[in-house]
């Protein structure tokens, strides 16, 4: 079942076009990456998806039905602008936000405690939010987005301001959620952070969709023609017919292959000539490289 369907949506703020003719579909159980540099229209798109603003034209369908506010309780949202009531007790806060998403108070309280245990912040539960560290507040907000077991989880820049340990913890939790069949929408300008997790992506640039599809499909259009080798011994294997050019750094080398050439042939030649290979990696272009190639200019992400 498609969870989100956007059909040619467009949004203008005064004279600035925020989103233009955007269409995309997010399926259940998918990890969907909404990517693009700052100001490319990601947050505007999300805001329309969850009814904070309305598109000027185009239609939005949620859970395979025309947009209706009742569906919003089935969505969990972590906004880019994090915010909690500073003076409010953590548990009260989570229960309150859970209730707004249709949970009963007792159920919300039970789940909130379980989640705090799971994310290793059980000691925070009786404290006021302003007494917590920034990382802890992030986790509280993260819990608030997941407490009502939403079928669509929207994460806007979820890792900004998180240390690597906590970022990994959150990522594991999200992967766990995906396993349970929930759709996850990632919105970020840090393409490198999500490219290995996303099944599908949509790349936005200046409010327009520049690239969309499954990760595998997109990458298949961009040939994996670069090889990174660690070796010791004879380096003559680099002079192979399949190699367009190479750079030899002594014990490592960067190789660019001819289009359509099989990297396996190079590896075979190295082994045949007795070179010790400690690493042989055929590298796909990164999303960032693909993005830059697509829009044809360098963008500071």
């Amino acid at each position: 079942m498609p969870i989100v369907q956007l059909d040619h949506i467009r949004k203008m703020y005064d004279t600035k076009v925020a989103v233009e003719g955007l269409s995309l579909t997010i399926e259940a159980g998918a990890m969907f990456g909404l990517l693009g540099p700052n100001g490319s229209g990601k947050s505007s798109t999300i805001r329309m998806m969850i009814g904070i603003t309305r598109p000027d034209s185009g239609t939005i369908r949620l859970f395979d039905k025309p947009f209706e506010r009742a569906a919003l309780t089935r969505i969990g949202y972590l906004p880019e602008e994090r915010g909690l009531y500073k003076k409010m007790n953590v548990l009260d806060q989570l229960v309150f936000l859970g209730q707004l998403h249709g949970l009963a108070a007792t159920e919300a309280s039970k789940r909130a405690k379980a989640w705090c245990e799971k994310l290793q912040i059980a000691e925070a539960i009786g404290k006021k939010t302003e007494e917590l560290s920034k990382g802890m507040q992030q986790k509280i907000q993260f819990i608030a987005a997941l407490l009502h077991e939403p079928e669509l989880i929207i994460m806007d820049e979820p890792f900004s301001g998180l240390d690597p340990v906590n970022a990994a913890l959150l990522m594991d939790t999200l992967l766990d959620q995906r396993k349970q069949g929930r759709a996850i929408l990632f919105s970020t300008h840090r393409m490198d952070q999500v490219e290995k997790f996303c099944d599908e992506i949509a790349l936005l640039y200046k409010g327009k969709l520049v690239l969309e599809g499954s990760m595998r499909e997109i990458k298949s259009h961009y040939p994996a023609n670069r090889v990174h080798v660690h070796f010791t011994g004879d380096s003559t294997f680099l002079q192979h017919a399949a190699v367009a050019k190479f750079e030899n750094f002594g014990d490592t080398a960067e190789i660019v292959l001819h289009d359509g050439a099989d990297p396996q042939l190079v590896l075979h030649q190295a082994v045949a000539r007795g070179t010790r290979i400690t690493r042989f990696e055929v590298m796909e272009p990164t999303l960032e490289e693909i993005f830059i190639e697509t829009v044809g200019e360098n963008v500071d992400a």
Binding site: I50, I75, G83
Partner: protein, 409 residues
């Protein structure tokens, strides 16, 4: 509806738990009561006690005046009798300039050319605004002159004193006028304070949510209209709780004192209808003023910015303050009637008129009707400003921008 209830309940619980609520609930009535009682007490007990000099040609009039000013019922002055000549005037002028001297002024009694007419009284004071001494002098001169005239017509001193004795008006129906006046006055000030306090609380609460960036999360399930309604209801409910506590306490105290003080004739300073109207007018005033405050809160990002805009709240309240005396003196004048029907003034002025006079029932009904219409109109505008403003961070919008917000769908 459920969402509005959730928002309102959170707002109410979080506010009622704070120490500020407890302190305000306890302290404001104590302060106001103390102030009202204290100033009333002082006004009754303080007599004019200035030190002045009377310059005359040694007439009996000057001596009587000295006696009246030193021992009269309203004054307790120190009076020096001096002779009326230029040297004394020069000396006293010098004394007036020297602030270390206690002398506040001198009165010259210049005998008239025609012995049948009144003498001229010329006063020179240190301060031009010393109303107390001025009033005491006028009173004393008047009664001395009257006494002199009556004696001249052959009336005995005893008869004169009996005639000049102050009249006590008994007022068994409404109780002591002074007490009722202070009651109404304190209620007025209290209303002024709670309107200001709670409408500002609405604005502050919006700014707090805005600066903590919680709006995005809230708006992902509920509409800005629900959020605004919940907020106003929540903050308002705290205000109603507080004013109800005050009114009940005032009622209980009133009954208690009425029982123990026989002098007040069994009348409480604040009557039950007054208390009910107070709470009712507070509710309407709060809705009216906090609708404005919500618009202000949504367009600003910080308390400081709000301070610059709060004249929109203070100005109407200040107008009420300015017309307070006129309305108290003649609560049924056309001016009072018109002013008390203006929706922004009704909660203060109509409520005041109910305490001290008897406005027609249709006037009271009309005031509520006009307030209701204004509340709906203002709420319409500010909910539109609110809807856009709460997601605008950073730059403070200018007026054309705010007007454009009204048109957003």
């Amino acid at each position: 509806m459920h969402n509005i209830w959730l928002i309102a309940r959170r707002e109410y619980r979080e506010r009622i738990k704070t120490r500020a609520f407890l302190i305000a609930t306890l302290l404001i009535p104590v302060l106001l009561g103390g102030l009202g009682f204290g100033s009333g007490f002082l006004a009754q007990r303080t007599k004019a006690s200035a030190h002045i000099a009377i310059l005359s040609d040694g007439s009996v009039l000057a001596q009587d005046l000295k006696h009246e000013l030193e021992q009269g019922k309203d004054s307790n002055m120190r009076v020096d009798l001096e002779s009326l000549d230029d040297a004394t005037v020069a000396r006293l002028n010098a004394q007036l300039k020297d602030s270390k001297q206690g002398l506040v002024g001198y009165l010259r009694v210049v005998p008239p050319a025609d012995p049948q007419s009144r003498p001229r009284f010329i006063y020179r004071g240190r301060s031009a605004s010393d109303i107390g001494t001025d009033t005491a002098l006028k009173q004393a001169i008047k009664s001395v002159l009257m006494r002199e005239k009556l004696t001249g017509r052959g009336m005995g001193l005893k008869d004169i004193d009996a005639m000049l004795a102050p009249v006590e008006i008994e007022n068994p129906e409404t109780g002591d006028t002074t007490a009722a006046f202070f009651g109404a006055y304190i209620m007025f000030i209290l209303m002024y304070m709670v309107i200001m306090l709670y409408s500002m609380n609405t604005a502050r609460s919006i700014i707090e949510e805005k600066s903590s960036r919680i709006f995005e999360v809230l708006l992902s399930t509920i509409t800005p209209e629900e959020l605004l309604a919940g907020k106003i209801l929540g903050v308002g409910a705290v205000g109603v709780t507080q004013t109800s506590i005050w009114m009940s306490a005032a009622g209980l105290l009133g009954v208690y004192f009425a029982g123990s003080l026989s002098g007040s004739g069994g009348h409480s300073i604040v009557t039950v209808p007054q208390m009910l109207f107070f709470v009712l007018y507070f509710i309407f005033a709060f809705l009216l003023y906090s609708s404005i405050a919500a618009g202000l809160g949504a367009t600003t990002n910080s308390e400081q910015e709000l301070q610059q805009l709060n004249m929109f709240l203070v100005l109407p309240l200040f107008c009420c303050m300015m017309s307070l005396l006129t309305v108290i003196k003649s609560p049924d004048s056309t001016f009072a009637k018109v002013m008390s029907l203006v929706p922004f003034f009704s909660p203060l002025l109509m409520n005041l008129r109910i305490s001290i006079g008897t406005p027609q029932p249709w006037e009271i009904a009309l005031s509520f009707a006009l307030m209701s219409v204004s509340i709906v109109a203002i709420l319409w505008v500010s909910s539109r400003i609110y809807r856009v403003g709460i997601l605008m961070y950073g730059k403070k919008p200018n007026l054309p921008e705010i007007l454009r917000w009204l048109k957003y769908s």
